[in-house]
């Protein structure tokens, strides 16, 4: 009912600006020593996998790359049955990191691992 949406415009416009609790990407630098893997990972010393945190807003802005299902689920939560949860804030795109590690037989291995850094978030 576009009428009700029009009433909801102020909220919608406010959400455009995004609330600080909205789903977004957060930095978190960690060392392999903290992960207990520094015995055999030589480099990098630290890396920043980042993580997604926050509430998926009622109206999912275009830049969330949310699939249509998430938009529907958001409406269901809001208009039909609140026991259906809002979509979850999860990583959308990733990038790899390169790791230098020692192997069991004393060899040294350079390897690129995919999907090790979150680059953006989405609601799903």
């Amino acid at each position: 009912d576009t009428g009700t949406l029009a009433y909801d415009l102020p909220n919608y416009l406010r959400e455009q600006g995004g609330d600080k609790n909205d789903c977004s990407l957060h930095p978190f630098s960690v060392s392999f020593a903290q992960l207990g893997w520094d015995h055999w990972i030589i480099a990098p010393h630290r890396y920043n996998p980042r993580y997604c945190k926050g509430v998926c807003p009622h109206l999912l802005r275009y830049d969330y790359h949310a699939p249509n299902h998430a938009v529907v689920q958001s409406f269901v939560h809001q208009l039909v049955d609140a026991s259906v949860p809002r979509p979850s804030c999860v990583p959308y795109r990733y990038s790899p990191i390169s790791v230098l590690m020692i192997e069991r037989n004393g060899g040294i291995l350079y390897k690129e691992y995919e999907n090790m850094i979150a680059e953006s978030c989405t609601c799903r």
């Binding site: 960690v30 903290q34 992960l35 207990g36 893997w37 015995h39 055999w40 990972i41 030589i42 480099a43 990098p44 630290r46 890396y47 920043n48 790359h65 699939p67 249509n68 938009v71 990733y94 990038s95 790899p96 990191i97 390169s98 790791v99 230098l100 590690m101 020692i102 192997e103 069991r104 037989n105 004393g106 060899g107 040294i108 291995l109 350079y110 390897k111 690129e112 691992y113 995919e114 999907n115 090790m116 850094i117």
Partner: protein
């Protein structure tokens, strides 16, 4: 300030391939044979790493290595008296454990120092492929000019996959001491050349990225 994680945060039986990979390579796991590499091989790989990735571990654009996996294999040398007068001849064997199925060999090179400054004179070195039977060895020459003193020789065609799928490569590291002979003792022994396997890991990490569903315009 994060509370220190438990000593071995890895789960008993890690489920994720990355954890499995790390668990398999973790020291203390069965099969951990020799202590970690050190010295020149480690320095070489750290330089290779710095060329390929930034301080946060992100691969640099243009991927100077041309692949996502490079394994350094140290030689298991034999023969303990390599010096004879000015000559140094060290037979070296590189045993290739069967590579993980997902890792496809793109090329293999041997890295060595063709020239070494000594207190008295220089050490000039070369690599000789040990041919099977009585055939004479093949002198191997580097394809490109040495970088930071290191020369890299392509040995891809010579890798022998043994019947037990244990690959192996037999070389001789030959050096001659050029210049005024020093004191009575033999000059410093050059460090062993090492083998680099450039591999393409078709899984390269946690899981093959799922194809993102084509997003329809709302």
């Amino acid at each position: 300030n994060q509370s220190p994680l438990p000593a071995s945060p890895l789960p008993a039986v890690p489920t994720l391939p990355l954890l499995q990979a790390l668990q398999m390579r973790a020291p203390g796991s069965p099969g951990w044979r020799v202590g970690p590499a050190s010295g020149q091989p480690l320095r070489y790989m750290l330089n290779l790493y710095r060329r390929a990735a930034d301080r946060e571990g992100r691969p640099r654009r243009g991927r100077s290595l041309g692949t996502n996996t490079v394994r350094l294999v140290q030689a298991s040398s034999h023969g303990d008296q390599p010096w004879a007068g000015r000559w140094y001849v060290q037979p070296l064997t590189y045993l290739l454990e069967s590579q993980p199925e997902a890792e496809h060999l793109l090329r293999a090179t041997v890295v060595y120092l063709p020239s070494l400054s000594l207190a008295h004179g220089r050490l000039l070195c070369a690599l000789e492929l040990v041919a099977a039977g009585e055939a004479p060895g093949v002198l191997l020459s580097p394809a490109a000019r040495p970088r930071h003193g290191w020369a890299e020789v392509d040995v891809t065609p010579y890798l022998v996959l043994g019947n037990s799928s244990m690959g192996s490569l037999a070389l001789r590291h030959v050096c001659v001491h050029a210049g005024r002979a020093g004191g009575r003792d033999a000059p410093a022994t050059p460090s062993h050349p090492f083998l680099l396997l450039y591999l393409n890991d078709t899984q390269a990490g946690l899981a093959p990225p799922a194809a993102e569903p084509h997003r329809h315009r709302r």
